[in-house]
């Protein structure tokens, strides 16, 4: 389990992470989403012992990470900017990984390289950006660590390869109980991959939830009544957002969808429709409910009020 308590990291006057707290359980795929500069990469670097926290602690399986090889041997990091030895190929890099990671599996390395159809003897410098990401992923997954950290890794992969990597990740999680922590600035990228999601905003995790709960806890309802009405009509429900134009109102409601439908249906609405919410919308509304304003451009032609 990865545990962060009051984790703070500063770069000069810039506070990248401030009093961050989180628990990442073992055997899950944990997604970390946030805008550029939110602190995602900093968090991953702290998780991998690259940075030393200015304040607070971060531990994996109960051990502090920084400069602690016994903990770090359970972690492998695939950063946003990849590193390969100069003029090296996959074979050479596998030797580097093998010498550093005690559980590195050459067998798996050969299997993965074959699956990705990468030439192990070809210089990595001649690889495309996507191929280099595949190479880094192969090496990381061959290290057979308990924790794998991907920083914006899927961004450079084509859909086929992305699915291939995801499949491998699922296998690792299911078969070995491995934990994967993935960062992205795109929720769509993560929503069908992760078990848990957290939103990092201005150096802190402002929201963290199970993806399945998140998707079912909020729903969007469109209603219209013959008579005039306002938000107070639905006082028994937890409404996160209420936008009315003419007689039609769009509501974001937290709670049991069937129960809400029954309750409003009993009031003879002219229109009653349950609309699906994307994970992104769920996030935005949850954030808004928490009081975070992103000052984002108005949605849907100025509907939000």
């Amino acid at each position: 389990m990865i545990k962060a308590r009051k984790l703070t990291k500063r770069f000069g006057k810039v506070e990248a992470l401030v009093n961050l707290n989180c628990n990442i359980p073992q055997g899950c795929i944990y997604g970390l989403v946030g805008a550029n500069g939110a602190g995602k990469s900093t968090f991953l670097r702290l998780c991998n012992g690259i940075y030393q926290p200015d304040e607070g602690h971060i531990s994996i399986n109960g051990g502090e990470v920084f400069d602690n090889p016994s903990v770090k041997e359970h972690c492998v990091f695939v950063p946003d900017e990849l590193y390969f030895l100069p003029q090296s190929n996959l074979n050479r890099m596998s030797l580097l990984y093998e010498s550093m990671y005690p559980r590195f599996s050459m067998e798996r390395f050969y299997e993965l390289a074959a699956a990705f159809k990468l030439d192990r003897a070809q210089q990595l410098g001649t690889f495309s950006k996507g191929m280099r990401r595949q190479a880094a992923t192969i090496l990381a997954l061959s290290a057979m660590t308990d924790y794998v950290f991907f920083d914006e890794t899927f961004d450079g992969l084509d859909p086929v390869m992305r699915n291939l990597v995801k499949g491998m990740l699922y296998d690792d999680v299911l078969e070995r109980g491995c934990t994967a922590v993935i960062t992205s600035h795109s929720l769509r990228e993560l929503e069908d991959t992760c078990d848990q999601l957290a939103l990092l905003y201005q150096g802190g995790i402002v929201f963290e939830s199970d993806v399945q709960n998140l998707k079912t806890s909020l729903f969007k309802m469109q209603v219209a009544f013959a008579e005039d009405y306002d938000r107070a009509r639905f006082s028994g429900m937890e409404i996160l957002s209420f936008v009315k134009q003419g007689s039609v109102a769009n509501m974001i409601i937290r709670g049991d969808c069937a129960r809400a439908k029954t309750e409003i249906g009993a009031q003879s609405p002219l229109i009653l429709e349950i609309l699906p919410l994307t994970l992104e919308e769920v996030f935005l509304y949850e954030m808004e409910a928490l009081g975070y304003s992103f000052q984002a451009p108005a949605l849907k032609g100025g509907e939000r009020v």
Partner: protein, 768 residues
């Protein structure tokens, strides 16, 4: 082990390049040296392994830069710091890998050098090969460690390199500057006399640069003590680098320094060397003014700060910090002068001095004489020596304080027999004070020293014959060595039977230079070179009449090499010199005549010379001499080679350029023969033997000049001998007059050349 092997693999690329370059350079330098036309001694360590001197710096820096290159790039730094290996372990893995490559390169280069020397049968000091491996490895590791410190403190290649120079050399440069100031200010303390904390060669990495600037330091650089000290420094530097590496913030990558304060500290460090130049007196006020020094210091500081801080406001705010290096400069200036004064006035009392030692006046030379090496170990406890040394020290200091420098004007009574000797006073409490003293009378000093029996033996000591590698320029593997060795063996046999020291450096100085009388007449010097342990020696043994076997072997040696003296040509050119055809024609002859009977009953060796040219200063006198010289040339045709050092014999060198009346050159056949083949004028010298590159002993130059080398020692029949002595008497009279007229030299009232009744002595048995 795995991280270490991985680091070795990672450094393979630059390691192999350095290895190959070092081997190629070592091979080229060695082959070049071993195939050189002439060298008279085993090479010094600096000469033998010069490519490795460059490797100390190139290897150390390049391997550190490559090994820790990941610190300068964010992505690389992240990768390495994410690996499951502790920072300390990672540091030592890289450092040990670099050490492996450095040691392998040094070992490979040394082995290759030894192989080249062995295959080409070139003698060398075998201990050097053993010492070179740890020496250059430690040196390179010192530089590596300095670079590792710099890399741990900065995050870019440029700042890393700059800081490497500062880490490696700032303290040593300050020390060097202070030492230079003390040497200049005291005037009686040489580089070799500085206390250990000021000697620039204790650190063998920076010591290499110091020895290139001050070659005398070379003699003390390659010592086990300095290697040990440097190894300790290298380990300390590595430990510091390890701590810095472990504490280094990964986010420093791609940034010059952690913050502006550190950056300002770097800028101040960069300014210090400039102000120290002024402070130490290396640059005196005669050459540069204080405002210029301050101006240059400010300029360097501003340029550095503008580059790294980038905003005028920050640069301006950092300006007050410039006062720190300027203060260091001022402190250095007064500190150096103060230290020099203290050291200069450190004058021991005679009763405090346990003994004194004499390092030898040529101790800073490439190779010292064996006798000097032996004398340097002698401890003089004799009261007279200690007293004379202490008094001289006090007198020297008083003279410097009075006149500003050592100034002993010529004194006719004393004969101006000054001698400058490095002296070490060892006090009763064990403290050592080393100074270079100017003794007023070298005969007095020698007479005091000779009271010491160890000294008496030391100046007569000869190196073991198996330690000799070169004789007259012939090395052990040359045929000439065996023949030369007969001379040396005879010298070994005969020297103890005489009162002469082995080296003339330790003989009593004769103010009237009357060295060529009776037994003291000398035929030349036997050049002997070799090594004992790590010490190389280069001796000259004068071959005297007092050593008849040696002298006879010496004469045979020369006579054997004198193939064709062209005496007829000499006679023709000499006769023609009375009337020169061309304005550039000339003739010059010098003759060393031995065993000339003198009016006081002695036999002397006297040098005679005769020069004719269009520009001669005293043509009238030469006209007087011409007939008798011509007669002597005719007698020379009848002379015979001799190996008897007691014979009245002559050793002649001549050269000339002479046209016949028809415009042809004298010796045309020689010129025709040699110009096409030896137009480059290459000579091969073996001791005092000279050959043209085709092996002959006469050289014809492009200008038409002919030079004859390697004459025989020739003697005359009894009849001719009487006439020769008469000719020499007249020649000397004219020569003395010529010297008096042309050069204004003093007419001396010494003995004149006597009559022809040369006392005969039995011919000694040939040596060998």
């Amino acid at each position: 082990m795995k991280p270490y092997l991985e680091s070795v693999r990672r450094l393979t690329r630059v390691g192999l390049i350095l290895f190959a370059l070092s081997l190629v350079a070592s091979a080229i330098v060695s082959i070049q040296y071993c195939t050189a036309l002439y060298y008279g001694n085993v090479p010094s360590m600096t000469r033998m392994f010069s490519p490795l001197i460059a490797f100390i710096y190139a290897g150390g820096i390049v391997l550190a830069m490559d090994g820790f290159s990941f610190l300068n790039k964010r992505s690389d730094s992240d990768f390495y710091h994410s690996l499951p290996v502790s920072r300390k372990k990672l540091f030592w893995a890289i450092s040990l890998a670099a050490l492996t490559w450095i040691a392998a390169t040094v070992l490979g280069s040394v082995l290759l050098t030894v192989i080249v020397f062995t295959l080409t049968k070139t003698p060398f000091v075998q201990m050097y090969a053993l010492v070179a491996v740890p020496f250059f490895t430690i040196g390179a590791m010192m530089v590596f460690a300095a670079c590792a410190i710099a890399m741990s403190l900065t995050g870019t290649t440029i700042t890393g390199l700059g800081l490497t120079v500062l880490v490696c050399g700032l303290l040593r440069f300050m020390q060097f500057s202070v030492a230079r100031g003390i040497v200049a200010n005291t005037q009686i303390i040489a580089w070799l006399d500085l206390p250990w904390y000021l000697t620039p060669v204790t650190n063998i990495a920076t010591g290499q640069i110091a020895q290139l600037l001050r070659p005398m330091l070379r003699q003390t650089l390659y010592s086990p003590v300095k290697m040990l000290y440097s190894a300790v420094v290298a380990v300390a530097q590595l430990l510091l680098a390890c701590v810095l590496f472990a504490r280094r913030h990964s986010e420093l990558a791609e940034r010059g320094a952690k913050n502006p304060a550190i950056q300002t500290a770097f800028a101040c460090s960069a300014v210090i060397p400039v102000v120290m130049l002024f402070a130490s007196g290396i640059i005196t006020q005669r050459h540069v003014s204080i405002p210029i020094v301050i101006g240059v210091a400010v300029g360097i500081y501003l340029i550095y700060q503008i580059v790294v801080l980038r905003t005028a406001k920050k640069v301006l705010f950092s300006l007050p910090w410039l006062l720190i290096p300027l203060s260091v400069g001022i402190a250095g200036y007064f500190g150096t002068i103060g230290a020099a004064n203290v050291m200069q006035n450190d004058l021991p009392n005679m009763q405090d001095v346990a003994y004194v030692q004499f390092g030898g006046e040529s101790r800073g030379s490439e190779a010292i004489s064996y006798q000097q090496y032996m004398v340097s170990k002698v401890r003089f406890t004799e009261a007279e020596v200690r007293q004379y040394a202490v008094e001289t020290l006090r007198d020297n200091v008083a003279t410097i304080q009075r006149s500003g420098y050592i100034n002993y004007p010529y004194d006719e009574q004393s004969g101006y027999m000054l001698t400058t000797q490095p002296v070490t006073f060892v006090l009763n409490n064990g403290r050592r004070i080393s100074r270079v003293l100017t003794f007023f009378n070298q005969i007095t000093l020698l007479s005091y020293c000779e009271q010491n029996s160890d000294f008496y033996e030391a100046i007569r000591a000869l190196p073991p014959q198996d330690a000799v590698c070169y004789l007259q320029g012939d090395d052990l593997f040359n045929g000439g060595f065996l023949e030369n060795n007969r001379i040396l063996s005879a010298f070994h046999e005969e020297l103890p039977t005489t009162a002469f020291p082995a080296s003339d450096s330790y003989r009593y100085y004769d103010p009237f230079m009357q060295y060529n009388v009776d037994d003291e007449q000398h035929f030349g010097s036997l050049t002997v070179a070799g090594y004992v342990g790590m010490t190389r020696f280069w001796d000259y043994y004068n071959i005297r009449v007092a050593m008849p076997k040696t002298a006879s072997a010496w004469m045979r040696y020369h006579n054997n090499r004198s193939k064709g003296e062209y005496l007829e040509l000499m006679q023709q050119m000499m006769e023609k010199s009375a009337k020169l055809v061309d304005s550039k024609d000339y003739f010059s002859i010098s003759m060393m005549v031995y065993n000339i009977p003198m009016s006081d009953g002695t036999k002397q060796a006297i040098s005679f010379y005769f020069d004719r040219s269009s520009y001669e200063a005293a043509a009238e006198m030469n006209d007087q001499l011409q007939p008798i010289i011509n007669e002597l040339a005719a007698i020379m045709q009848r002379s015979k080679p001799t190996t008897n050092p007691n014979d009245l014999c002559v050793f002649t060198n001549w050269s000339g350029r002479m046209h016949k009346e028809d415009g042809a050159f004298y010796g045309e056949e020689i010129l025709m023969q040699q110009v096409p083949t030896n137009g480059n004028g290459m000579f091969v010298s073996g001791g005092s033997i000279y050959y043209v590159s085709d092996g002959s002993v006469i050289y014809g130059g492009l200008s038409g000049a002919i030079t004859a080398y390697n004459p025989c020692y020739r003697t005359f029949s009894a009849t001719d001998q009487a006439r020769v002595i008469e000719i020499l008497r007249q020649w000397k009279a004219v020569q003395d007059e010529y010297n008096y007229t042309v050069y204004g030299s003093k007419q001396e009232n010494g003995p004149s050349i006597g009559d022809a009744s040369v006392a005969t002595k039995p011919t000694p048995a040939p040596a060998g």
